[in-house]
């Protein structure tokens, strides 16, 4: 394999995480230190920055500020949700990407994102091969949803899981402070996979967490749900519930999509989301004081309670992508191979983009209890290593100190 000299582009795509910038740093730092990579360019808002010729010259960034990317949540370069067309139907974007690659002599493209981003990588790679333009393309995984195929887990998930578990423990304490009845319903992200909602079980495992957890891997029945809550509430005077935003009826419709029928107990105009809706149903049914809490964006940007393991692995994924590309590999996503028995170990592997793109990894049914209102010990054993370690994040005046990038546009 002959050495391929040229510039690289790093882009970030999809919903941000607490550690996506640690992966960007893994790419940038390694690329800056690699002799055959002549220039490191950061795409403004992912592939849109490539199409718009808005690329930041990362060589001009201050090294110390770059290091702070490890502790800076959200996508520092900007993100996008842009889906490339099928190149056989419309190759406008691809021609433009090739034009930009030629302009900057881009020979390495690293894209940090979820399912859609791996699909973007795949399409660009195929187009470049067809066009005879030599370019190595690598996907770097990222998603709090943890739903990418081909990898043990995804960078971003561990920190979100840790935020959820920590928060559930604290809210549990708060919700148990009075000797009066109280039901608390926590709404957690994850439209199609229940990895995040399931992580609330870490709080229960640690002594203070939800009594009931509902994942989108099973069908949700309102009557069963109310029965479950009733049973716990009648026994203890309290009930704490964690629900995935993606819980759905047996016919596949989301519970969060309010029905106009009055018979299902959800016949209300509503603005406040699933937690508020379920809280209302429980209030009507039990008469208990009920509080619905939506963790919202907090769970995906909570870098102040990130997992050090997650940060380190996110960095490692970016680094491994560059090293693999430089060694001649292309069309792969960096993945993790982990062992948990006899102590947690995590190594990177490389998976074909095809097996990753556009498929969702769900929580195995056997990790969820039979009645579908909680998770089993294997789920805990799986998640626990991923939340370990406290990052040594710098603070100024006891507030987070995020990376300040110059973002000098490349010409």
């Amino acid at each position: 394999m002959s050495e391929l000299r040229g510039a690289c582009i790093i882009g970030q795509s999809g919903g941000p995480t607490a550690v996506i910038n640690a992966s960007a740093l893994g790419v940038i730092r390694t690329a800056l230190d690699t002799e055959c990579i002549t220039r490191v360019l950061g795409a403004a808002h992912g592939i849109k920055g490539v199409l718009d010729d808005r690329l930041y010259d990362m060589n001009q960034e201050d090294a110390a500020e770059l290091e702070l990317l490890k502790y800076t949540p959200s996508s520092a370069l900007g993100s996008c949700r842009y889906k490339l067309a099928d190149p056989d139907k419309d190759d406008t974007d691809y021609k433009r990407i090739l034009e930009i690659f030629r302009k900057y002599d881009v020979r390495y493209f690293f894209y940090n994102g979820g399912n859609d981003s791996m699909d973007t990588c795949n399409k660009i790679s195929k187009y470049m091969q067809k066009a005879g333009y030599e370019c190595r393309i690598m996907g770097v995984p990222k998603t709090i949803d943890n739903d990418l195929n081909g990898t043990d887990h995804c960078p971003g998930f561990g920190s979100a899981a840790k935020f959820i578990a920590t928060t559930c423990m604290e809210v549990h304490r708060d919700a148990h402070v009075y000797d009066t009845g109280m039901v608390t319903i926590i709404e957690i992200m994850g439209r199609h996979a229940g990895w995040l909602a399931g992580s609330a079980a870490l709080a229960t495992w640690a002594g203070y967490g939800p009594d009931l957890i509902y994942l989108p891997e099973t069908d949700f029945d309102l009557t069963d749900f109310l029965d479950d809550v009733h049973r716990v509430y009648d026994k203890t005077g309290k009930c704490m519930v964690a629900v995935s935003e993606g819980i759905h009826r047996a016919d596949g419709t989301f519970i969060s999509e309010a029905k106009t029928s009055a018979t299902d107990g959800f016949g209300h105009a509503q603005l406040g989301g699933l937690a508020a809706m379920l809280a209302d149903a429980v209030k009507l049914e039990t008469g208990a004081k009920v509080r619905g809490i939506e963790l919202s964006l907090l769970q995906r940007c909570g870098s102040h309670t990130a997992s050090k393991t997650d940060i380190d692995e996110a960095f490692l994924a970016g680094k491994a992508a560059v090293e693999a590309a430089v060694s001649g590999i292309t069309d792969k996503m960096v993945a993790f191979r982990c062992t948990r028995e006899g102590g947690y170990t995590c190594q990177t592997s490389l998976e074909p983009l095809e097996i990753v793109a556009n498929a969702e990894k769900k929580v195995p049914r056997e990790w969820i209890n039979a009645v579908g209102n909680g998770v089993e010990q294997p789920f805990i054993d799986y998640v626990l290593p991923l939340i370990q370690g406290e990052p040594d994040a710098p603070r100024t005046n006891s507030l987070p100190r995020f990376a300040k990038l110059k973002k000098v546009l490349a010409h």
Copy 2:
């Protein structure tokens, strides 16, 4: 002043905070180490525990577990929202309290709470004096709302302010990740005083925070609000707003109380609270993508991001209460006298319960900007010292390790 020997009771009351247990520890630790205090009793659920004769024998607790109270959110002994009757109208409760005090030879009563709790202290103290029962009664302040008179600030506020500022910084980063329009509305606690909502300005001061902040100290006008949001959004494509839950119209009615009139833009059945309601109004007006986020219980139980200053001062308040009572003082609340020029200093003082009870300290009007959509530098200078320092909170498996009390009932 002759030495007063006897037992003491510590009770916790009202809404919990991240550091109310640090104050309890300040009382318990100091009382355990004080020779003339023969026994330390913790009231289960505040004054209700006294009335119900449910008192925990704190002498039987493990010292190391007690120390963890510094890092354990919410009220470890349980709380209540119980208002004592006017003793001239109904002295049933007071007779019962005296009976319990006599039963355990209680000569010291420490009550940790907000306005109502100081009123409770005051009433009990007056009754005991009238009954000729020698007993020293001290209030220990607590409230995230920071609305107690007679003190520079209240334990609990600094940690909540820090949670709010940290979270706003992280959410700001998340909400700015796409190059598409986005309005974010954060709902913050504080029904009558804007100390907490104003603390979101710390995030802006640190570089990433709300563009607009609305406090309950000024009247809220929906048209002005929408104009404000429009102006910021038109200029930058983003707008981040922090609102106090207590914002109200000029006639005093809360914005969160939906009107049925369709003319005010709020004529919707709603479940999701103020943030969702305002988000809906902004969506209708601007067509922008809008996200409403309610910080809910998270802001008052977020011990994982507590202020070390707050923890230390909360402990100090409890300790000072015991020391003052033992020295012969009664009928006071521990307060803070602080200086900020030439470096922050904080000392305890003792204030009469009367000036504290049943009054609310608001944000000075001159600390709020003229148009009422932000706070001025004096507000920042006031809050900043209170959020300083990271606690060295113990963790197990990278999750919080809360105090596990035995809670042995006293006989």
